[in-house]
Amino acid sequence: MQALVIVAHGSHLNPDSSTPTYDHADAIRATGAFDEVREAFWKEEPSFREVLRTVESEEVYVVPLFISEGYFTEQVIPREMRLEGWEVSDWDSEDGVSATFATYRANDVEKTIHYCGPAGTHEVMSDVIVRRAESVTGDPDVGEGFGLAIIGHGTERNENSAKAIHYHTDRIRGMDRFDEVEAVFMDEEPEVDEVTEFFSAPEIVVVPLFVADGFHTQEDIPEDLGLTDDFREGYPVPGEVDGHRIWYAGAVGTESLMADVILERAAEAGAEIGDARERIGERSAPSVAGE
């Protein structure tokens, strides 16, 4: 028997924060690839601390639904899950974006735990960002005449968070699909509120590399982008700012193709997933704008 455990931050204040985790878990459950699929949270239940005892499987694949390597993936999760012998160096990621997986016993359960790198730094995540651009514009061929801005939080507490943003920016630039691809940040240069200065393309798709929609993606960023003066009044998609049309996508983590990244992480760590990735692909074919 094999189990998948998706671990995410969650929130004591905002119920929407766990919604993407539940959605991706449900999509993966529906493929039948795992005997058990569980969610666990830092701020909600089941907690990281107790989730492993709620699965019966011997082999457990743990995939963090986090954007970057750093405090949560390197300290909090391994510690709370009691992964015996965990060392950051086991992940062999010197550049902060190449963690794959490492295998442990947890010291409160008789199970083998395959601890995977975060979803956010997997290369398939670049495809999810592109898919997000397709979903928000309703155009599966979106690219020409479009710029793509990827928004990160910025350095605060985690130097790897910017690395993940730059990593995907470089990869998508290399795809030669959008006229321009740029990284912008909430807390460091170049900043979100200057986004139109970095693009000459008339249309800009803006994708925040965040797991869930919340305060930042629904309140701060639409205001900083100049899409609205007051987030409570909502914002238009697309909206006009400084002569550009801005297609603001909201948190990339809510894109249904995220489930594919999670599956891929587990498969690389040895999980048998059969044709689950194709089945997820079918479920998450590009949707139309406004959905």
Partner: protein, 360 residues
């Protein structure tokens, strides 16, 4: 009971069967079939089949626990047996009771087990407050996953970050769950409670006390180590008593130092301070770092009592119940607004600055 169950019993007799008073074995001279009421020895296979058919309850009961629930290793086995009182009542008594339904409470949940065809069980799960409400008047659910949605908001539409807070929404029912789906649903409503209860029953509950949990914290949470024992008592009284959380607190300051705060009454244990408690503790530590000061206010005795009534009303979550026109209640909104209008000022209560040095 059905033929398949009898067939499974004949097969299992080779290894020996023993569940709830039913014993079936095979010895050289044939099968032996025993219940508390009868003993048959030296049976041929076909004779075994016919005596088994005369004790359908014992056979289907055996089949349920070994083949459907899949044996005693799992938490769900213990839990489902607890639901129907299997360790307290013999099979005939239990089957009689199950035919009309046996109900147990698990936190705010009410679980009713009844007999289905061939000795299978079906379980009805709902809020305890809806115990006597007819099924048609409740929202009906089938999929255990939907329980996550039920647990998200309370009856007033507020988000519930703590799943064992006694604020579970009412008005819903799972009328027909099998054993596995029942446990799954309960675990979505109250995560890990069945598992930890099961460990406790086996004497294997791993409790992590407050000091150990605090030492483990990093980043912004590392300061919770600074909570004094008095503050810890107050924090447990604020967060962990039954009126706030149904888990039975098994952790203390450390193994040698129990807290005086009542542990709670529920079946399922709390084995370690939860994330909400740690977050609250972090705030309490920062509050505790401030020195007290003396302030001078003029209040009438009734006004002093009114301030206390307001604190109590907020602490006990009673604010929403206070009637609009109940001017006798110190925490009534008009009374509070009147107090603020009369005694409040630019600098707060009695116009006394919180930091007088900023106003010299």
């Amino acid at each position: 009971m059905n033929d398949a169950q009898v067939g499974a019993l004949v097969e299992a007799a080779e290894e020996g069967v023993e569940v709830d008073g039913l014993r079936v074995t095979r010895v050289d001279e044939g099968y032996r079939f025993e219940t508390p009421e009868t003993i048959h020895r030296g049976l041929s296979e076909s004779a075994l089949r016919s005596v088994a058919e005369e004790s359908p309850w014992f056979v289907s009961n055996w089949h349920y626990w070994t083949h459907v629930v899949e044996g005693p290793e799992r938490a769900r086995y213990d839990f489902l047996r607890w639901v129907e009182g299997a360790d307290d009542h013999d099979v005939p008594k239990r089957y009689e009771a199950l035919s009309s339904g046996v109900t147990r409470e698990w936190g705010q949940l009410s679980i009713t087990a009844t007999l289905a065809d061939d000795g299978l069980r079906r379980y009805d799960l709902r809020h305890g407050a809806d115990r006597d409400v007819s099924e048609e008047d409740l929202e009906t659910y089938v999929d255990p996953l939907d329980a996550r949605g039920i647990a998200t908001y309370d009856d007033d539409g507020r988000y519930r970050p703590l799943s064992t807070a006694p604020t579970l929404r009412t008005g819903w029912v799972y009328p027909d769950l099998d054993g596995r789906a029942l446990v799954e649903t309960v675990e979505f409503l109250y995560p890990a409670t069945v598992e930890n209860w099961h460990r406790e029953r086996r004497g294997e509950l791993d409790v992590t006390h407050f000091r150990e949990t605090a030492e483990r914290q990093t980043g912004i949470y590392s300061i919770v180590e600074g909570l004094t024992v008095e503050e810890l008592e107050a924090a447990a009284e604020a967060c962990c008593v039954d009126s706030q959380c149904l888990k039975r607190r098994m952790w203390d300051e450390d193994e040698e130092t129990p807290l005086r705060v009542p542990r709670g009454e529920e079946a399922f244990p709390c084995r370690e301070p939860c994330s909400l408690f740690v977050t609250a503790a972090r705030k309490f530590v920062t509050l505790g770092r401030e020195e007290t000061r003396s302030y001078e206010f003029e209040l009438t005795p009734t006004e002093k009592e009114q301030v206390e009534a307001i604190v109590d009303a907020v602490a006990d979550g009673r604010v929403g119940e206070i009637r609009e026109a109940d001017l006798n209640d110190g925490a009534n909104r008009y009374r509070a607004r009147y107090l603020r209008a009369l005694r409040g000022g630019e600098h707060g209560l009695s116009d006394t600055p919180t930091y007088p040095e900023d106003h010299d």
